[in-house]
Amino acid sequence: MSMLERYGPLTDDPGAFRAACARPLPPVVRVNTLKTTVDRARQALDEVGIAHDRADWHPGLFRLPADQAGGNWPYSHGWLHGQEEVSAVPARVLDPDPGDRVWDACAAPGSKTTQLAALMDDAGVLVGTDANIGRIAPLRSNAERLGVTNLAITNEDARSHSLNPFDGAGYDHALVDAPCSCEGTVRKNPDVIDEWTLERTRGVTGVQKGILKRAVETTREGGTVVYSTCTFAPEENEAVLDFVLGERPCRLVAFDIPLTHSPGITEWQGDSFDPTVRRAKRIYPHQNDTGGFFCAKLEVTG
């Protein structure tokens, strides 16, 4: 069974789902409000003659013509950062305030990390972790280009993240944008269709569960953890949530996003999940003409 046949039946319109997955996505940039304002970024794009189309759900996201995302003046000033539209969802769901303590458990290359820093107005401690040493340099360089100074970077397995460098203090918020089978990026990387295997999907769920568990452990009672992936696979989404609900003191909370979406599913191939996983959001490519995405918000209860 192909990857697209596997998930089509989950959607309200399998034909539209398949058709959208076959269309390439335009480059999208997020305005970095640590260095400029949305108005000035728009003015700069006008000044250098780059067409831009604002996403109607997010004031600081602009769709650009192909090949323009990184080679222009506002980009060189760190005013813009290339970031797919749906990738801008989880940081807004986490919605940190200046002064908060925030952990980004799977940080590199830093699109969401730097978005969190901007939402925090570069104030409060932001810890960015990545297990892959080769991805630390891009994370650091993106953060520096965007003018982030409140980020501490650790290279470790997020499943055993140590709070020792940070006085053992728990976090107010944690983001787990988990490594996944990336099916939702099919519009940028059509190869994911041919490369997809059930084994790969099953192989990554252990890491996802371990990181989410650690994120709940390191977040204070009353704090929030956002779990996101760019995959459609219920094994990597609802099943991971169902697991952590049984393992650690937390609950799924309802939230709104200004994008068309579908609820999390409670039944999949003979497995059933905690009914509250319906509070998670599935974003399919045909619903908003974006990539595919999954996002859930948890509150730590103990």
Binding site: E47, H77, L151, T154
Partner: protein, 177 residues
């Protein structure tokens, strides 16, 4: 100081694998050659006119000899991390050199030693080209600005000597626009 690496001289030295907070003043310094917070604030102020208050919330750290990082926050020193804020300054050399990132992040607070370039000159600068330019001010490292969206915006750092502005834009940040 326990845990500090030893160069055989009996004095503590800089350890390139971790972040050490810089001492507040000379009297608190234990690692020879390490710049002090006082000296760093004086540098930004004396050279570029940046008010020390701009850095009130920032702590300064050394990792790698002379490589200074600015972190907006407090954390226990030393810190075994892969990054702590941004690299802002290269010290332990005769002329301290600000980074491009520091110029872009803090340059708007500068009141002197900023050279404003036309769009074509800024284009050459960003591409890494050296160029002959008239400049009445001090020689040395200057903040480079150009106009974007109606205001002078800091773009990076150039070295002005002998009638020439040398681009010191790091290779990874150069662009042909």
């Amino acid at each position: 100081m326990p845990g500090d690496p030893d160069d055989g001289s009996g004095e503590p030295t800089n350890d390139g694998d971790r972040f050490d907070r810089v001492p507040a003043t000379e009297t608190e310094r234990t690692v020879p050659g390490r710049p002090t917070r006082e000296a760093v604030l004086a540098f930004w102020h004396d050279r570029y006119g940046i008010d020390p208050e701009v850095f009130t919330a920032h702590t300064f750290w050394e990792r790698g000899a002379g490589k200074l990082w600015a972190f907006r926050g407090e954390i226990a020193s030393p810190a075994e991390l892969q990054g702590l804020g941004m690299t802002v300054l290269r010290t332990r050399q005769r002329h301290w050199k600000p980074t491009l990132e520091a110029a872009q992040r803090f340059g708007r607070h500068a009141t002197r030693n900023c050279i404003h370039l036309s769009r074509p000159a800024a284009r050459a600068f960003l591409a890494g080209e050296d160029q002959e330019l008239d400049w009445e001010g001090d020689w040395g490292y200057l903040f480079v600005t150009h106009s974007l969206a109606g205001e002078a915006e800091p773009l990076g750092v150039g070295l002005y000597v002998h009638g020439e502005l040398r681009s010191v834009v790091p290779k990874g940040r150069r662009r042909e626009l």
